[in-house]
Structure formats: structure tokens, C-alpha cells
């Protein structure tokens, strides 16, 4: 019994020390980590909706979105976090929309694990800038290997149709869900 008790005590002791040390480290680092995440969020929102003075997080049902206002309190747009499956994994976006949801003010690819050099090029500014001013009705689309002639279309990354299509589908799907909520 003595041996078993000693084993139990030692294990518990180490577990407690571990828990204690980590709680301390967490207390110190948590505010920094939180600040980092908020800063990232802020940067991506400012990136996709122009003219923002302030924004507010809203949650309706399952959707989280940001209502963006200018200095006089007018709603200048919405920033919508969206995610879905790409070619190799999950793609996370931030989509900026005009207040009536008819036009995209910009997108930001936050996270992706697509093929580097091909699908990975959706992270390039050139691809993302295309979405500025794109109309959302009836739906956003894409074309391959030519300049788009409709104001709802963008040009897919050459050789990365699936990744580009995934981005477009994620945007469309989330705008539809968003329309139902607003």
C-alpha cells in the first residue's frame, strides 16, 4: 500500500505542479493571444469593406457577421466570415458586402491549404482584387482562360479551377444564408 500510495502521490504532485505552472503561463499569455486574434480579425475586416470607422460583431442563429459603420453611424457594409471545402482542405474567407448585399466590396482569403503555386494562388492579391465590385445576383460565377464579360464573373486561376470554384461556391452559399437572416 505504501508503494502504491507513493506512486499516486507523486503523480498527483506532478499533475498539480503542471496545472499550476500552465495556469500561470496562460494568465500571462491569454490577453496577448486574444489581442492577436482580434487584430487579425480587424485587419481582415478593414481589408474587405472600405470606409469603415467602426464595426460590431453580430450573431444570428449559426451565422456570425460584422456590421460596419462609418463615422456618422451609417451602415456601409457587412463583413462575413465564410468557410468551406477547397481542393485540399478547408478554405476560410472574409467577404465584404454592400449594405443591400448586391455587390461584393472585396474578399480576403484567411486560411487555405491548396496546392502551392496552383490553387494556393487564390491567396494572391491579384485573384482577390477581382472580387471588388462583383455583383452577387443571381450568383457569382467564374470563367476560365478568358476575361470575364459578365459583371458577376471572375477569372479562375489558370490550372486551379477547383480551388477557384471552391472560393466562388463558398461565397455564394454564404451570401444565400446571410440573405435569409437579414
Amino acid at each position: 500500500m505504501n508503494r502504491r500510495l507513493k506512486m499516486l502521490l507523486i503523480m498527483t504532485l506532478f499533475a498539480c505542479i503542471s496545472g499550476g505552472v500552465l495556469s500561470l503561463v496562460y494568465l500571462i499569455s491569454a490577453p496577448l493571444i486574444e489581442a492577436n486574434m482580434l487584430e487579425e480579425e480587424r485587419r481582415s475586416i478593414l481589408n474587405v469593406v472600405p470606409g469603415i470607422d467602426s464595426y460590431e460583431e453580430r450573431i444570428e442563429g449559426e451565422m456570425k457577421y460584422f456590421e460596419c459603420k462609418d463615422a456618422s453611424g451609417f451602415v456601409v457594409g457587412y463583413a462575413l466570415p465564410a468557410k468551406g471545402n477547397g481542393y485540399q482542405g478547408v478554405i476560410k474567407l472574409m467577404v465584404g458586402l454592400t449594405p443591400d448585399l448586391s455587390e461584393i466590396t472585396g474578399i480576403s482569403v484567411l486560411e487555405q491549404v491548396e496546392t502551392p503555386g496552383l490553387g494556393g494562388r487564390i491567396s494572391e492579391q491579384v485573384f482577390q482584387d477581382q472580387f471588388q465590385g462583383i455583383k452577387t445576383e443571381p450568383a457569382v460565377g467564374y470563367v476560365k482562360n478568358q476575361a470575364p464579360d459578365k459583371d458577376t464573373d471572375i477569372q479562375a486561376v489558370t490550372g486551379a479551377t477547383i480551388s477557384s470554384r471552391s472560393v466562388v461556391t463558398i461565397i455564394n452559399r454564404n451570401i444565400v444564408k446571410f440573405r435569409e437572416i437579414l
Partner: protein, 209 residues
């Protein structure tokens, strides 16, 4: 006389981690993070330094408490100690180096099950004094880091034309994207192992002449 032997053994203990007992190329440990994070030099370097921290601190603590811990529970205790330091590294990266934390992803917490660390604790730190344990830990983890940097360097140069973020190959070179993907990782490591083995063989032949 004893002092000179000690100094020699300290040097030997440190250097063995680089070649003779290289954790990746000889002991074949820690393969998982090796393959996953060597897509670039900075990623490999960061992982390597994280392991330096965790291995050194763990070996230090294990060596200090080695006589208090009953044999039967030594593995769980080692694991708790290792997991604690890994959590510290993870929180540190998330707070101060967020981009690197994201690039290394789940492989930072996976340092917990990195056989290198548990292996050193079991084979060395739980049996030897504090100073030697730390020296051993530093040697092995630096050997690990250098191997990661070499592998990362090869994959980054061939896959992205850059080294540590700086372009080294001109636009004329079409990057071998496969280097950044799993097949490239496996094959490069396999070839690197083959190179080390053939160098070893040649050294052995030279010595026997």
C-alpha cells in the same frame, strides 16, 4: 586525469547528436514533424528551436527528480513534464509569433509524442547527472535542428526558389512544387538518408585502410 576525461566526454556527448547519433538520420526518431514542417527553412528552424527548449527543459527536470520518481510511474511523469513544456512553447508562439504558430500547426503540440524527447528522458536523463543530461539534450536537439534546416533548405530552394525567404534562384528555374508536398518530403528525406549512409560507408572504408 579525471578532469581531462570529463572534458572529453562532455564534448563527445554534445557532438554525438550531430552525426553518430543524429536523431532523425540515425535513430529514425521524430520523423513526423521532420516531414511536415520542413517546407521552408524558417519553419524547420522554429520547430528545431522549439524542440531544443522542450528537450533541454524536460531533460533538466527529469534529471533533477530522477531519484524521487518510482520506476512504475516514470513514463507518465515524464509525459506530464514534457507536455507542460510543450504547452508553454505553444502559448508563447501563439502570443508572440502567430504566423509561425499557424505554419507549424498541430506539430507543435505533437512534440509531446516526439519519440526523441521521451527517448532521451528514458535512456539518458533519468540515469545521468544534471549537467551531462543538459549537454546530451542540447547536442541531440541541435543535431535535430540542423537536419531540419538542411531538409527545409533543400525543399524551399527547389520548391519556392527562396532560402529563408530570400530568392536564390532566378525566374528561369521552374520550381518543383512537389518538393512542398508529401511525396517530395518523403523522397527527399529518403535520399538524404541514403547520402548519409554512403558517406558513413566511405568513412569506414577509409578508416580500415
Amino acid at each position: 586525469m579525471a578532469a581531462k576525461d570529463d572534458r572529453k566526454s562532455v564534448g563527445v556527448e554534445f557532438v554525438k547528436g550531430f552525426w553518430k547519433e543524429n536523431p532523425i538520420l540515425v535513430m529514425l526518431l521524430g520523423m513526423c514533424p521532420t516531414l511536415a514542417v520542413t517546407t521552408s527553412v524558417i519553419n524547420g528552424l522554429t520547430m528545431g528551436l522549439a524542440v531544443v527548449f522542450v528537450l533541454t527543459c524536460s531533460s533538466l527536470i527529469v534529471s533533477i527528480v530522477r531519484n524521487i520518481i518510482p520506476k512504475q510511474v516514470r513514463i507518465p511523469v515524464f509525459i506530464v513534464i514534457i507536455a507542460t513544456f510543450v504547452t508553454m512553447v505553444d502559448l508563447f508562439l501563439k502570443a508572440f509569433l502567430l504566423d509561425l504558430s499557424k505554419a507549424l500547426g498541430p506539430f507543435i503540440p505533437l512534440i509531446v509524442v516526439n519519440c526523441i524527447i521521451l527517448g532521451r528522458a528514458e535512456a539518458f536523463a533519468s540515469k545521468k547527472g544534471v549537467f551531462l543530461s543538459v549537454v546530451d539534450a542540447l547536442g541531440v536537439s541541435f543535431g535535430f535542428t540542423i537536419t531540419l534546416v538542411i531538409l527545409g533548405g533543400i525543399r524551399e530552394v527547389l520548391g519556392m526558389r527562396t532560402f529563408f525567404g530570400h530568392p536564390v534562384l532566378g525566374e528561369g528555374f521552374e520550381p518543383w512544387i512537389v518538393m512542398l508536398l508529401p511525396p517530395g518530403a518523403f523522397i527527399t528525406l529518403g535520399l538524404l538518408l541514403g547520402v548519409k549512409n554512403s558517406i558513413d560507408k566511405r568513412l569506414k572504408e577509409k578508416r580500415s585502410r
